[in-house]
Each structure stands twice: as C-alpha cells, then as structure tokens.
Symmetry: C2
Subunit: 356 residues, 2 copies
C-alpha cells in the first residue's frame, strides 16, 4: 500500500536529548533576561538578569550578551562548543529574518535586526522567534507535545499566545507573525482588543479580560461582594464592613487581578463565579475553533490563568463537547503544559535543534 | 549567515507541469462525478457522470471506476501510464487513511475505505482528500497560489470551505479533518450552524447565510421590497403589485438564493444591501482571523458567492484595514482563485504530485 498517505515522525527531532549538542537559550521577557546553556531540556547553567525599566536595544542587547558569557562560564564551556543561540522575544518579530519589529512590551525597539547583531558578536547560528512560538517548540520537543507532530500550544496569562505545529513544522507565516491565536475574533460584536481588533479570544478569556470584567462590574456598582472579598484578602488590616473601605478600594481597582477573581469565585462570590464562567465559555469557544481549524492531536494549555483549574476548564470542555464536530473533537487530547516556568528558556534553546 | 532561517521553495512541487507524469483526478460532488486524465493542470480527457439520487457507495464507486476507464480510453492511455489517482470528496474524511467518514452530502457512506477499494481495483497509488483541501492544492500548484508556500484558500458558496498550506504542506491534522475554516466561530452569541457549533463563519458569510437572512426578513414581514424584486426577476409573468403575489411568493421562499439577494442589492433594494453588507462584515472578520492565525502570503478566494464582487469584497477589505494587525495585514495579498470550476478536478489530480 502507498505509505505516503500515513503520518511519519521525523526521528531527528524526537530524541531524548542525550546526543544533542550544547545550545544557549535566551528568554527575553518584560522583567527578566533568562539565559542558560543546555543540552536538550537539561540546563547546565542558568543566569537571570533584570530587564530594567529602560529596555532600549542599546542597553538590553549588551546585557543579553553578558548573560550569555556568564552562562557559558558557569557551565564551564566555551562558545566553540555551542551549536547555536536561540532567542525567544516578545512579538511581533520576523522569525525568518530575526528582525524584532516594535513589540508593545519592548518600547524603543523598531525593526531591530537582533539575529544579525548576535551573529556579529558570536559568529555561530542564531535563531530568533516570538516567545509563544518558542514555548510551543519547547513543549513539542521536550514537554507535553512529545510524540506528536500535530500540536497547538495555547498560553493564557495576561494575554493569550499561541504556537502551532503541523506536519512537524512551526506555523510562522510569511513574515514570521503566524500563530496569533489570541487575536482570533470569537465575538465580532464583543469588546475592543488592545490589538485593534474586536472580540479577540484574548479580550474574552485572558487574565486581563477576567480582571476587566471585574472592574466593569465594580464601576457599575454591581461588584460589591467581589470587591469586599478581594479587600479582605488583600488587606488583612482592613475591615470590609464600612462604606469607607469600599470607597477606598474603588480608588485602586487595578489591585484586582484574575487570581483575585478566581479566589473569590472559589469562596462562593456569585459575581466572581459568573465572570469565571464567562471566561470559561470564551475559552471553550476558542478551543473549538482550534479543533476545527487544525484537527490537532494535542492541545497543550499553559500560562498562569490555567492554574484556576476545574472552574475554568470544566465549562470549557462542556462547550467543546456541545459544539465541536465529532471527528476532530474525538481525536483532540487537551493536556496541560509540562515545562512550567522554564518553557520559554527551553523553547529558546530548542530553536537551534528545530532549525538544524 | 545561517540560511536555515530564510524561507525556501521546494522546487519539486513548483514546476510548470511539462515533465510531470500523467495522473487521474476524480472530483466526487453532490451532483456530478467529474473525472479526467491530466498532466499538471492540462486535461487530456474529461468525463462527467451524474452522481444520481441514490449515492450509496455500492452504486457510486463502480460508477467512479467506470469514469476512470472512460477517461483513460478518451485520452488514449492505459492505467500503466498513470502515476496515481487522486480523489477529492466531500468531508469529513481522513486524508491519511483515505477513509470517508459520513459526509452529510453523501448519505449512506459510513467509514468507507475509499482509498483501499480503489487500490484493490487499480493497484497504483491512490490519494483521497476532502474537496476544499484538494482545491487548495490545485490553486497552490497550478493556480493563484503558485510561487508561495504560505497560502490560505477560502471557498464561499453554499458553505465556506478552507484549505491551508503552510511551510509548503497542507494542514490535514491528525485525522485528516483540518482546515475547516468555515466552522470557526466568529460570533459566539450568533446563529446555530448546521455543524452544531454557534456563530460559525459559514453561518454568517456563506450563500446559505445570505439566503437565510433574506427569509428571516420575509418571515418578519420586513422583506417585501426584496421579495417583490426577486419575484419580478424570477417570474416575468407575475405582476408584483397585488397582495396575492406576495402571499404566493411566501409559500416558496426557498426560491430566494444569495444571487437573488445580490441582484436585488445591486438594483438598490435597501434590505438586500443591508444583508450583503452584514455578510461582507462577517467575511472580513473571518479573514482577519485567517491573517492573524496564519500570516499567509496569499489568501485565495473562490466559490460562487465571491462573484458578488465589490459589494461583498470592498466592505470586507475595510474590516481588514480597520481590525488586522499591521505586519500580517501588510504581507497578506488577497487574490481571486484562478482555476474556476475545474479547481476540484485539477486539485484531485494534484494529490498525486503533492504526495509523491
């Protein structure tokens, strides 16, 4: 029979890491530059430097290079022993050219040729990818995606990020900005998203969306119980039963975040439960889209908001059971990410393995 | 510099067709079995048999085989000269295994191993793919997608079908049901779709959605002008100014289709213009999602509804200009499909080239 129709696994990308060369990974985040020398998913050294309040390229890039040298030294290896340096950075950026456009989280960066700058300094292969795509690669090679060539990674924290691997290849798109699942509209008459689009998945099911809904309720005067609960939790010295407490709290509503809302929901606060239920429905709707568009074997969920657990995931799974088509629904396994807070770092290192 | 980061074109899939082997394509549709012997996109013969009212596998598969033999005879070649037979069929089906699950458009088919049945009869490579994915391959290799490895094909007629090629590979998913862009929810509080999901792109921007909106208006008593216009166009003998005409027309509202509505809109009927504008907005919202998710180089639009032209496409493009992020928006070229009504047939033939 013709074998060309059956799915093949490429063995070169699927080994356990023992015979992989040494690489360097850099996870450039809004608060930290995390850097490591690694072999596969095993970290031989780890360096964390603060990004600082003024993250201009002229300040940050030398700091990144310092981190690389420190990581090499700590692992007791030289640059000649390193097969490549992978950098995960906030998008938008072009993974093909390694140019970072102008990320909202990195003010002052405008079309910065990060790959070329690093290549000049280190003269070994350099790979740059947006953080969600790099994390997806990390889970694909060394985490919850191992053994599958059809995965979708979704990370839900302040925003929703996505990384898609189909046919064993990352979907980067023509300018390297593919995979922006968080900016898929699921409610075309819904709220405006920061990106300019309307009703994005991120604007409905992210941590920021949960916090925004709480603040909206409070502004409408309907969030008293939620606010009182949050107040007693946040400020043990405050007695929440005087009107002045409520007034005071309304002056700093930014203190409320998704975790506060989830905790209030767990404690039985009705408005909080409603907000989590709405986010969960939105989460489910977006996952149905992922299932229909990609027919993935695994959907890997990561990010801090996923820690809310069953109150978020159970209703989302009910939406999937009710709305997704039979074949792709039954072949999609929804699993939790495995690499935890190191996913960005391991994913950055994995770029060298993926591209070789 | 490390070249691994730059996009490569695979030359084997990109030639003009002169040195390609002969193949057979079968486009299994709801009304016709279209079959051809072809080299590249050049048809050497063409056979059309009616699917018939009773499309059970036991009747249809022998008919498909007859069509293959007729096409071979007409092209004056034998089966030994054929490199493969590609079959485009209504989904859901598994493109990896060639099993057709149970398509709504092919009642009586349940897990039919179409590939294996054909292989037993012809003992040459057989490839089965859903019709939208096959059409996408056709446009990719021989139509509006030539020269790009990052394309999304969207066909809008009674439904909305999708076929996605990223990194030069079709996104089939783990069970071969990937690419169902029409069943991506864009309005989570919108109308129920035939597939069971809510607010699918197809339920808002397809030909069926346009017709449904017209019928809803008529049922609400708000579609009089639209109905009158359609009546005078459909039935030249009817005078549309008596109440009995309206009554009679309401008894066969299925006569109204997307083309009627588009024609009424072109003639200035306000309700019709509104319906087309709403479909166009939905079209644009779905295209923004395509742009954000895939960052494609080309979006290829096909299908009869696209023939509505500017009244549909111009507002959709305005939505894209307003809502899509800069980088993926500026790199996405929206083009019309090139292969016309032969797209399914050429796409089916292309399966043999794609899989070799």
């Amino acid at each position: 029979m013709n074998d060309a129709n059956t799915k093949q696994t490429s063995p070169s990308r699927r080994n356990k890491g023992e015979d992989l060369p040494l690489v360097v990974g850099i996870d450039l985040g809004g608060t930290q530059i995390r850097t490591a020398v690694m072999r596969g998913a095993t970290l031989l050294s780890r360096v964390g430097l603060l990004t600082g309040e003024n993250p201009l390229p002229d300040r940050i890039i030398p700091r990144m290079c310092t981190a690389v040298h420190q990581a090499l030294q700590e692992a007791n290896v030289t640059i000649d022993q390193i097969a490549g340096i992978g950098i995960g950075a906030p998008g938008p950026l072009n993974g093909h050219t390694g140019v970072v456009y102008s990320p909202p989280n990195l003010p002052g960066w405008t079309n910065t040729p990060l790959r070329d700058i690093f290549f000049e300094k280190f003269t070994i292969p350099i790979f740059v990818e947006n953080d969600a795509n790099a994390a997806a690669l990390g889970e694909y090679m060394f985490g919850a995606g191992r053994g599958s060539e059809e995965i979708v990674y979704v990370t839900i924290s302040t925003g929703i990020g996505g990384g898609i691997i189909s046919n064993g290849r990352l979907i980067q798109g023509i300018a390297g900005s593919g995979g922006e699942l968080g900016h898929m509209a699921i409610d075309m008459h819904g709220p405006r998203c920061n990106c300019g689009n309307i009703g994005c998945w991120e604007s409905i099911a992210s941590g920021t969306a949960i916090a925004r809904r709480a603040h909206e309720l409070i502004a409408l005067g309907k969030g008293e119980a939620l606010l009182n609960y949050a107040l007693t939790q946040q400020k043990p010295d405050a007695t929440a039963d005087t009107p002045s407490d409520l007034q005071r709290a309304q002056s700093y509503p930014t203190h409320l975040n998704a975790r506060n809302v989830a905790e209030a929901a767990a404690a039985g606060v009705a408005e909080a439960k409603q907000i989590i239920a709405e986010a969960a429905e939105g989460l489910g709707v977006g996952l149905v889209n992922v299932i229909h568009i990609f027919n993935p074997e695994r959907i890997i969920l990561g990010g801090s908001v996923i820690n809310i657990g069953a109150p978020l995931l159970d209703p989302a799974k009910r939406v999937i059971a009710e709305r997704a088509m039979k074949v792709p629904r039954e072949t999609a396994n929804i699993v939790l990410a495995k690499l935890g807070s190191d996913v960005g770092l391991i994913g950055a290192g994995a770029l060298s393995y993926y591209n070789r």
